[in-house]
């Protein structure tokens, strides 16, 4: 095998619902230790891309490899944080129980979480500033708190790669800042973080890499290099005119 510097390699990935292609021929290489944001308009296939990378959606064609291996062989090194609204927050369970679910993969079949798992879960709750909430019912949490415990659940997985789907939707500013700080901490620990995001305003401030997506890959690389007016025009198409002000703000690149 040829020595490959990329940590994650996506090759010719194509996903279609019925006959309509949602992702078309995506080729991406993501190096270790970046904070990558996947950006694009609604329906660009951002969520589909990470779900396909994690084997949750079967692609029509293409391959994805992590550490040069198939996802199934390295899944313990990969943590996934789904969209907050994808679960029923009225499910009868407590905060600590949800965080403990992050240990289930390490535990494997049948065995139950033990004392060390509880300690790890509590530590993760401390990191997201939710330690006082450990025995709280999850239906009493605000949007920001829900997102924090989802992040804690991923932290106890002790992974190398973190996937997050829209973590900033419907959360308060304090939570958004707290999450960003944690993501930056993860990056400085050498972890790789991939975040589906749609706020162009904060892109430059929060992330160092960006993948511009609109069914096809428009560009992928360091934010400063990739976030050009031309690329944004390509990503958002005719809609650039509608969001002209936003783009203009973001075109304010050094």
């Amino acid at each position: 095998m040829i020595e490959n510097k990329a940590l994650i390699t996506v090759n010719d990935l194509t996903v279609a619902y019925k006959e309509k292609p949602v992702l078309w021929d995506i080729d991406v290489e993501i190096p270790k230790g970046v904070l990558l944001s996947v950006v694009g308009p609604n329906g660009a296939g951002k969520t589909t891309l990470i779900k396909a990378m994690l084997g949750l959606i079967k692609p029509a064609a293409g391959t994805v490899s992590f550490f040069g291996q198939n996802y199934k062989r390295v899944r313990k090194k990969i943590a996934y944080i789904p969209q907050r609204n994808s679960v029923d927050w009225d499910f009868p369970t407590t905060v600590i129980d949800v965080v403990l679910m992050g240990r289930y993969g390490h535990l494997g079949w049948f065995s139950r979480p033990g004392v060390t798992d509880y300690e790890l879960a509590k530590k993760a709750l401390e990191k997201v500033g939710m330690e006082d909430f450990f025995d709280r019912q999850i239906n009493q949490l605000s949007g920001g708190q829900q997102q924090r415990i989802f992040l804690a659940r991923a932290l106890v997985q002790d992974a190398e790669i973190y996937f997050m789907d829209e973590p900033f939707v419907g959360v308060d500013i304090a939570t958004e800042k707290a999450i960003v700080n944690l993501l930056k901490l993860l990056r400085s620990d050498g972890k790789t973080v991939i975040v589906v995001h749609h706020d162009l305003q904060t892109l430059k401030e929060y992330f160092d890499w960006v993948l511009l997506l609109n069914v096809r890959k428009i560009a992928c690389g360091p934010v400063k290099k990739v976030l050009t007016p031309k690329n944004l025009q390509l990503t958002y198409g005719g809609r650039t005119f509608n969001i002209g002000k936003d783009v203009a703000l973001n075109l304010d690149l050094d």
């Binding site: 779900k51 994690l54 084997g55 949750l56 199934k72 899944r75 313990k76 990969i78 943590a79 996934y80 789904p82 994808s86 679960v87 029923d88 499910f91 009868p92 369970t93 407590t94 129980d97 949800v98 679910m101 289930y104 993969g105 535990l107 079949w109 049948f110 139950r112 979480p113 019912q137 239906n139 659940r153």
Partner: protein, 373 residues
């Protein structure tokens, strides 16, 4: 009446019936929790109806009413129904409710045709097969109990064994799948266990109403607790309570089918739970709502009094109630009287009201809180 019941319990056959229905109630109650939490309540109804042709075909093949054979037929038919449902959803544009409706009516219709055909035949054993429609717990025999008991134990054991896996799949299936738990297979396994727990109850409760025993105890249990294992245990308890009481009541009247009475009992539990459960009950949240509204109204009256007094430089100055009525939303007098009981206001003469020292403190606190929020 009391004598009737106590003599019933001493009766050996009746004891069998009680044990049988307890098994049904507990197994249906515990598995029902997962059906309800995974938003698959109607799946139970569909499977129960789908089991009827299975029972009829098993009877036609074996020409016996052995529980094992009939239940095996019911399980096979239930599983086929669930599989077809899955296939329809996977490969067609049909919505879930339409798919459920189709499976339910096609299987049930076919079952009724078979049942009518069997009853028209000169088979000596055929009488009594129609208990599977509305259920008759009195037909349970010792042998049936063994069959139901062993199936029930297997279901509960699997539930305990796969507890963690069932929990994570029910809460967040995509996440479970990234952890390496095959979400679709686990999902279908839960459905399979649901099929078994439904089939166990068919003879005593009947295909038409069995789904109530899957859904209702779980819905009631959800009202009382916020923890999964407690919900499962409560749901099992409600299942036992309703099925046993249903059996006792229906046995007091001749020819009373068990199923409908059990459903009435479980409905009573659901209604009580929906209205009176602490925290989630409609009644309790209504009272909480009213209290909140009252607090807001009385806080406003106090605030108004305070603001009027700012002009007077004396915060306890007494004002004419007509002014307060004018800015308030009516019923000011009754609110003021309640506040007087709490010593927050005083009225020096008829129609005039002012804040007490305590009231002034209360309002100042209130203003501070709203500032901080």
């Amino acid at each position: 009446m009391h004598d009737v019941i106590s003599s019933l319990f001493l009766n050996y056959t009746f004891l069998i019936v009680i044990i049988g229905t307890s098994i049904i109630g507990s197994v249906a109650g515990s598995l029902g929790v997962f059906a309800v939490l995974r938003r698959q309540s109607l799946l139970g109804d569909c499977i129960a109806h789908a089991a009827l042709p299975g029972i009829c075909i098993a009877f036609l093949i074996s020409v016996s009413k052995q529980s094992w054979t009939l239940l095996a037929g019911a399980i096979v038919a239930g599983v086929i129904g669930a599989l077809l449902l899955h296939l329809i959803q996977e490969y067609s544009e049909l919505k879930r409710d339409a798919a459920l409706g189709i499976i339910l009516s096609v299987f049930f219709g076919f079952g009724l045709v078979l049942l009518t055909y069997i009853q028209s035949q000169e088979i000596s054993e055929q009488s009594g097969l129609n208990v599977y429609l509305f259920g008759n717990a009195a037909t349970l025999l010792r042998n049936d109990i063994y069959v139901m008991g062993s199936l029930g134990i297997v279901v509960i054991l699997f539930l305990i064994l796969f507890w963690k896996e069932f929990k994570v799949v029910s809460f967040d299936k995509d996440f479970a799948s990234t952890l390496g738990f095959p979400q679709k297979r686990i999902d279908f396994f839960i459905t399979f266990l649901t099929v078994i727990s439904i089939v166990v109850g068919l003879q005593a409760v009947g295909v038409v109403l069995m789904s109530a025993l899957i859904i209702a105890p779980a819905v009631a249990a959800r009202q009382w607790t916020d923890q999964l294992y407690k919900m499962v245990m409560l749901s099992a308890l409600f299942g036992i309570l309703s099925s046993v009481s249903g059996v006792i009541i229906s046995s007091l009247y001749e020819k009373m089918p068990t199923g409908p009475v059990i459903v009435i009992m479980v409905s009573i539990i659901v209604v009580i739970s929906l209205f009176f459960a602490p925290k989630r009950g409609i009644f309790v949240s209504y009272i909480r709502h009213i209290n909140q509204k009252l607090t807001i109204h009385s806080d406003r009256v106090l605030l108004n009094l305070y603001q009027f007094s700012e002009v007077q430089k004396d915060p306890t100055f007494a004002h004419d109630i007509t002014v307060l009525d004018f800015v308030g939303e009516g019923s000011t007098l009754s609110i003021l009287n309640k506040l007087k009981n709490k010593k927050l206001v005083y009225n020096p003469r008829n129609g005039y009201w002012g804040l007490s020292i305590k009231g002034v403190k209360y309002v100042k606190n209130l203003l501070k809180e709203t500032k901080n929020a």
